[in-house]
Symmetry: C2
Subunit: 343 residues, 2 copies
Amino acid sequence: MVGKQRSVPALMDVARRAGVGAATVSRVINGGQNVSSKTLAAVQKAIEELGYHPNQAARSLKGARTKTIGLIVPSVADPFFSAAAAAIQDVARAHGSLVLLAASDNLPAREQEQVLTLIHRRIDGLILAPSDAADIGMFKHVAFPVVCFDRPFPGHTLPTVLGDNYGGAKAATEHLVRNGFKRILCMGGDSKLFTSQRRVRGYRDVVSAAGLPFIAELNVQDYDSAETALHRHLTGKGRIDAIFSIKNAITVNVYKILRKLNVAIPASVALVGYDDFELADTLDPPISVVRQPVVAIATRAAEMLFEALKAGDEKPQTVTLKVELVHRSSGGESRVAERRRAR
Amino acid sequence: MVGKQRSVPALMDVARRAGVGAATVSRVINGGQNVSSKTLAAVQKAIEELGYHPNQAARSLKGARTKTIGLIVPSVADPFFSAAAAAIQDVARAHGSLVLLAASDNLPAREQEQVLTLIHRRIDGLILAPSDAADIGMFKHVAFPVVCFDRPFPGHTLPTVLGDNYGGAKAATEHLVRNGFKRILCMGGDSKLFTSQRRVRGYRDVVSAAGLPFIAELNVQDYDSAETALHRHLTGKGRIDAIFSIKNAITVNVYKILRKLNVAIPASVALVGYDDFELADTLDPPISVVRQPVVAIATRAAEMLFEALKAGDEKPQTVTLKVELVHRSSGGESRVAERRRAR
DNA sequence: AACTAGAATGGAATCGGTTCCAAAAAGCAT
DNA sequence: ATGCTTTTTGGAACCGATTCCATTCTAGTT
């Protein structure tokens, strides 16, 4: 305890000091409608002198807003979600709200538990990146708006903000095709995850339209399994010449493995990743990636939530934000120039 | 709104359904002391059937715990602090509490505002990484435990968990000295920041004990200023042969700049950074760093908070956790072997 | 000056729990 | 069976706001 245990002043203390009724103080706090300027001044003075601030618990008890929103993300430590959390926190602050943070670890049971906990806190609204097994049943007692981001709620149309996974994957794959690569491996991700599915579909549509083989190693999560998978695809006659990694963690591992195996990037095998990362431009070669507008996605989701809060209802729109293909050089960008020169 | 606006069951509903008084239900909820096993079962059944969960707002109104702790960090997006937030969130969850997240952006005014906001939420306790200008005055109405981490509260002895900044800097510098470097530049950081000061002091004590020059470029924050500073120290006769970067962001920038200038690491200039980062082992050469036990620091801070909560008081101890020097190769690790071979 | 619409104000109920206290029930020894 | 202690139990006050409603005051109209 830092300071003395001094009881915090209550509304009634302010009322007494200002010589008015409790109802009047309440009116002053909430915008001061129908209060004479004289009384207003007196009450404000009392509030100031006492250092009074309304007790949120008491307010929310009476059905008013708790000025608190919930945020459930798979992992707080993940750069994508921590950036999102930061952006959401900013929007919330601008609206005078606080963020109650919870992590689901992509576990449906944990997710449900966290949702329930937040419901009991009487949050004003909820922003979440739902797991693929999220159950709408957990919202049965819910009377507040819910906005999803990064992933939609499986089987339901809640307001949602997404990155254009399909478009991003398509752009990345097209880029590789355009640069002359013929055997493109799509790897990483979790086939149960919405984002992964969309990205694989984008990749698939492009290779099949170009008459190229569909080569995939999905559900590759760690370094070792990535190494095993890569070994297989780098030897023999079915040798790949490019990799589209649909998940950040895998992109980095693929890079490490290729370097370790002395495979030249992109001369021997090109690489394009999904999701930008801190040092992508510092590696050798710099890694080309699909960059998602994390902050825009999160900010938009938060804004949609507060709009719904103000309007009192929500329209279950799905907003898809454009992603950007960042050309560095791991995607064989120089090949185009080379070919042009060779002609 | 996902579900129907159905009023959530209240304690009284449970009482009526179980045919008991409100007080009895309350007892059952809070551990069931002095309740006959028959009544206990009946009440639990009613709770189950109604899907009842106590309203936290009402509970905290009566002075009970809010089961909520506050966390204030300079930046939510910073990997160090997002890892800390994740760890703290885990501990809180284990104690049935939630985390109210706030960012100070290292702005004392913002920090004060957030503390105040959290106080009005009647949080049970607060964990914060205080800014260098944090003002104890903002705690004047506070009656809950406060624990600091990463940095101490300036001028006050609150319970605090720190990384051993001095020791880490000393180890890093000694390592460079031992490897034969003679002109070691200490750069980066913010001279107002506690962590930076300690690290500079560790560096200083080692170089002065070794009879080496104290060369520092503090308050270098971005790429451009780092480049300007490096230019100065890489030319002329006062040329440096090693760099101890005391801040993560600067380590990366220094690496980029050295690569751009074609300065060989560590042959021409060695580099040791403070704070490990995702791709430190993947860069060429892998970067040697002082690694702080982020998770341990944050977890310990959270545990101290909950201990204080249970005990009802807090002992203002300062815990300093050991840091680890991770030898990769940018610190001239091979030189030792080389010298041995040359002999 | 009389009268009324409208603004300003305070009393009291209410939200959903916790807790004090007194009453009722149960347990136990005699 | 009786008296006494110990458990159980429910009534009611309370926490700190909001809000309905009745009342008082002010100002405008004729």
